[in-house]
C-alpha cells in the first residue's frame, strides 16, 4: 500500500437499476494507487454490473465516477480506455487466426506510410512483456496458444493502451491451477509497478494471497471493506453471506453398491480424426462419486460428450446397468437416466435467448406435464422454474426474463437445478461450481453428496483439485486420452495429484 493513499478511482453513490431489480444501490468505493482491491459478493450481488459501469459499458442511473480527483462521464469503453481504464473480461475477444501482436495493436495500428509498422509494436510489446513478466510470444498465432497465454495477451492489450487502472472479472475461473499461480504473480508485479487493480473473484484463497483490501457487496450494497492482512477467509465469507458458512465439505464415507456404469476400452476421435480418448476404462458404482482430475484438454470433454451421446464413439463400450449406451442419441441417453451439467454453460447448458422458464425445461419440455399433445403447458413450466428458483436460491427478477440477463453464477444454478432435479441415476458434473460463490459452492457440493447418498453414480470432472479432493470418493487421473492413475483423496494430496496429471507419476494402482 502506498503511504499517501492517492485515490485513482472513486465511485460515489453509483446506482443501477434493471427491470425488477436494483443491481447496484448507491455504491461508494475507492481505489488507491498501486493497490489490489478485491470485490467479493454472492452471485448476482452486482459486481459485474458495477465494473461494467466503470468501464463504460453500462450507464449509471445515479452517482458519479471520479478519476484522479475529477468527475468523469464514462459513456463508452473507448472513453474508459482513454481515461486509463482497462478491463479483462471472462470471455476473451481475440481474433484467433491473427498473431499476438496483430491482436494487441488491432484498432490502434501505428502506420508508416501505408504499411503497418508492426516492428515498433513488437518492440514495445516485448518491453512491456519483460517488464511485467507476461512471457508473451509476439509472433505466436492466437489459435495455437493456451488459455492462460490468451489472457495475458488480453492484459497486454490494455497495458499497451496505457491503462493504469486494471479491472479483472473472474479472471481465474477459466484457468488451470498452474496458470492461476502465474496470473496472481503477474498481478502482484503490476501493482508493485504502480498499477491499480480491481479483481472480482469468488476464490477466497486468491483474495488472501494478493489483495490489499476487499470490498464486500451484498444485494447491490457495499457491506464493508476489510484489510485483507487482518482478515480470515471465514470472516470474508461471513461478511459476504451475512451468516456463517462452512468452507469445508462434511461427508460420510461412501457406501458404494453395485457397478452402475462400466466404461470399457473407449476410443474417440475428434472431427479432424485425431485420437482424443485412447482406451479409457473405468466403472462407477451406485453411491459413489468418482472424480476425474486432469489438465484441461486431455480428453475430459470428449469423455463427457461420449458418455452423454453428444459425440460418436469409435470403439469400446459404455454400459449402464448392463445396457449398452455407446452411440445412442443424447435424448435417449438422457431419458435412460443420465444427467449432465456441462462444462460450458453458454455453449451447451443454456439457450441464452430463452427465458429462465424455457431453460428450466430444456430436457423435459416435450413430455407431460410440460407439454400435452404438443402444446407447451406454460403454467407447469413456470411452476417448475419457480421451484428451481426457490430451492436453489436463483437470484432473478422473475421466470420470464432471458437467461442472458442473469449473473453468471445464477445462470449456472439454473443448469444445476435442472439436471439434479431430473433425478438421474447417473449424474455427470463438469466444472459444476465454476463461477459460483462460496455459499453456492458448498450448496452444490452438498447436493452432489446427497445424490451419492441416494444411490446415484456421480462423475465429477473438475480442474480444481480442492474440489476433487473434497468431494470425490475415488479419483481417476486422465492424461493424454488415457486414465493414468487411480487414487483416493485420503491417499493423495495436491502435489502428488499435480504430478500424476502431468503424466509423471503413476497412481496407487500402477505404483503397485
Amino acid at each position: 500500500m502506498t503511504a499517501q493513499h492517492d485515490i485513482v478511482l472513486e465511485l460515489k453513490g453509483l446506482t443501477k437499476r434493471f427491470p425488477g431489480i436494483v443491481a447496484n444501490d448507491s455504491i461508494d468505493l475507492q481505489l488507491r494507487k498501486g493497490e489490489i482491491l478485491a470485490l467479493l459478493g454472492e452471485n448476482g450481488a452486482g459486481k459485474s454490473t458495477l465494473m461494467n459501469m466503470v468501464f463504460g459499458l453500462y450507464q449509471p442511473d445515479e452517482g458519479e465516477i471520479w478519476i484522479n480527483g475529477q468527475p468523469v462521464s464514462m459513456d463508452t469503453p473507448s472513453k474508459a480506455i482513454e481515461l486509463g481504464i482497462g478491463m479483462v473480461h471472462q470471455h476473451f475477444k481475440l481474433v484467433p487466426p491473427f498473431t499476438v501482436t496483430e491482436n494487441i495493436v488491432l484498432g490502434m495500428e501505428t502506420k508508416k506510410g501505408l504499411a503497418l509498422d508492426l516492428k515498433s509494436s513488437v518492440q514495445r510489446i516485448q518491453e512491456l512483456s519483460d517488464r511485467y513478466n507476461l512471457n508473451i510470444k509476439p509472433h505466436a498465432v492466437v489459435d495455437t496458444i493456451s488459455v492462460g497465454m490468451q489472457q495475458r495477451v488480453e492484459i497486454m492489450k490494455i497495458l499497451y493502451r496505457g491503462a493504469d487502472i486494471l479491472i479483472f472479472d473472474e479472471p481465474t475461473a477459466v484457468l488451470t491451477p498452474q496458470e492461476i499461480t502465474e496470473l496472481l504473480a503477474i498481478l502482484k508485479g503490476l501493482a508493485a509497478e504502480g498499477k491499480s487493480i480491481i479483481i472480482i473473484t469468488h476464490k477466497l484463497k486468491e483474495i488472501m494471497e494478493i489483495a490489499d483490501r476487499c470490498t464486500v457487496i451484498r444485494r447491490g450494497k457495499v457491506i464493508d471493506t476489510l484489510q485483507v492482512a487482518t482478515a480470515s477467509p471465514e470472516a470474508l465469507a461471513e461478511r459476504m453471506v451475512g451468516r456463517n458458512v462452512s468452507l469445508h465439505v462434511d461427508k460420510e464415507p461412501a457406501t458404494p453398491g453395485e457397478r452402475l456404469v462400466e466404461v470399457k476400452d473407449l476410443h474417440v476421435k475428434d472431427a479432424s480424426g485425431q485420437d482424443m480418448l485412447r482406451g479409457v476404462s473405468f466403472d462407477i458404482r451406485a453411491g459413489e462419486i468418482v472424480g476425474i482430475a486432469g489438465v484441461d484438454g486431455n480428453g475430459q470433454s470428449e469423455l463427457i460428450e461420449a458418455l452423454t451421446g453428444m459425440m460418436k464413439v469409435d470403439s469400446g463400450s459404455i454400459r449402464m446397468n448392463g445396457a449398452e449406451m455407446a452411440n445412442l442419441s443424447p435424448r435417449v441417453v438422457s431419458e435412460s437416466g443420465v444427467g449432465h451439467i456441462p462444462q460450458d454453460r453458454h455453449k451447451h447448458g443454456l439457450v441464452l435467448d430463452f427465458t429462465v422458464s424455457e431453460n428450466s425445461v430444456l430436457k423435459s419440455y416435450y413430455n407431460s406435464p410440460m407439454s400435452k399433445l404438443g402444446i407447451l403447458q406454460e403454467n407447469n413450466i413456470r411452476k417448475e422454474a419457480e421451484r428451481f428458483i426457490e430451492s436453489y436460491d436463483i437470484r432473478t427478477p422473475g421466470t420470464e426474463v432471458l437467461a442472458r440477463s442473469l449473473s453468471g453464477g445464477n445462470q449456472q444454478k439454473i443448469i444445476i437445478a435442472r439436471e439434479i432435479e431430473a433425478n438421474p441415476k447417473f449424474l455427470i458434473a463438469a466444472q459444476p461450481t465454476r463461477g459460483l460463490d462460496v455459499g453456492a459452492i458448498s450448496f452444490v457440493h452438498k447436493q452432489l453428496i446427497a445424490e451419492r447418498d441416494a444411490g446415484k453414480a456421480v462423475l465429477l470432472v473438475s480442474f480444481e483439485l480442492d474440489e476433487i479432493l473434497d468431494v470425490a470418493d475415488r479419483i481417476l487421473v486422465i492424461f493424454n486420452g488415457q486414465i493414468v492413475g487411480e487414487t483416493t483423496p485420503s491417499a493423495t494430496n495436491e502435489q502428488k495429484l499435480g504430478l500424476m496429471m502431468a503424466g509423471k507419476l503413476g497412481g496407487e494402482s500402477s505404483n503397485g
Binding site: F18, P19, S48, M51, N52, L57, Y58, Q59, D61, P77, M87, H89, Q90, H91, K93, D169, E170, I200, T308, M310, S329, P330, R331, V332, V333, S334, E335, H340, P342, K347, H348, G349, L350, V351, L352, D353, F354, E358, L362, K363, Y365, Y366, S371, G374, I375, L376, E378, L402, R404, S405, L406, S407, G408, Q411, G435
Partner: protein, 369 residues
Amino acid sequence: MAKLKSFINVFKQESIWISIISIFLGLLIGAIVMLVGGYEPILAYQSMIEKIVGNPYDIGETIRSIMPLILTGLAVAIAFRGGMFNIGVEGQIVMGSIGALLVGHFLELPPILHTLFAIVVGAIFGGLWGMLVAWLKTSRGINEVVTCIMLNWSALYISHIVVRMFMMEEGTARSKLIQDSASIEMPFLIQWFDGARIHWGFIITMLLLVGYSFYMNKTKWGYELRAVGSSKHAAHYAGISVNKTIHRTFFISGMMGGLVGTFEILGVFKYLAIAPTTSGLGFDGIAVALLGMNTAIGILLAAALFGALMYGSQGMSFGADVPGEVIRMVVSIIIFFAAAPGMLRVLFQLRRSTRRKEVSARGNDSVSH
C-alpha cells in the same frame, strides 16, 4: 380480446413509433426526390393514396397484393427463427403453383374437395422443395443460400417444362386453365369489391398468421425450432435432433411459399404463364420479415405497408405522370427508411432506453456476467 390488446400494445412500444416516423421521413425524402425531378409530390402521393383506397375495387386489389407478402414474409421469418436464411421462397412459390395447377387441371373431383386437395398438394410441393434445401444442408453441408438460388431457377425451368409438355394452351405462352371446381374465388366478396380478385386464400392467410404465432411460442415444435435457431449446440445438448428440426423448419417455410403459388393459380390467374423470371414476391418477403421483426403482427403491418406502396405506386404514374423509375426509387426510399430505424436514432441522437441497450449489450461477450 387478448389478441386485440397485444395488437394495441404494439403501438405503445417505442419501436413502432420509430418505424412510423421513419416511414414519414421516407415519404418526405421521396417527395424531395420528386421535386428535384420536376414532379409534383403532393399530387403524386395523393394519387397513390387514391389508388390504394380510392374505390372498392382498388381496396380489394390492395388487399390482394398484401396477401402473398404476408405468406412470403412468414416463410422467411420461419426460417429466420430457425437460424437460417430462406431466399428460395421464389422457387417454392413456383413449385406450389405447379402442384396446384396439376391437381386443378387434371383431376376431376367435387368442388370443395377439389379445392382442398389442390391447396394441400400445392403446399406440399413448396414444402418439399424447401426441404430439399434443408436436406442438402444437413447431409452435404451446402450452405442454404447457394442451393436456394440454384433451386429458384430450377423451379422456374421445371415449370416451363411441365407446362410445355402437358398442358400448353395452343397459341399462347401459358398453360390451360384449372377447372372451376378447384377455384378458390369468393364470388360474394368479388362482387363487394367490384371485381377485385379476392379469394379464400385471404382467410387461410390470416389463419396462418395466427397459427404462426401459436406454433412458435406455444408448441414444442416451435420451442425446438427456436432452440435450434438460437443455439445449435445447446439444442443438441438438450436432445433435440438438430437435423430433423432444420428439415421441418424448411418444410414449413417452403409450404408458405407453396401456398403463395397455389393461391395465385387457384384464385387469381387460373393458369401458369411461361415467365422469364420468378415473381420477386419471395425476395420481398425478406424485407417484410425484417421489417416485421419476425413477429406475426409485425409481418402483417409490414406486408400491408409494402403491398399498399407497391400497388398504390401505380397510381402515381397515372395521376401525376411520375415515371416508373422514380416511383420505384421513392418506394425503395420509404422502405429503406422503414427498415432502418437505426438511422433515425442517429439522426436525432435518440437515446435508447438503457434497458434495451443493455440487454442487447449482454449479447456480445464484452459484458461480463
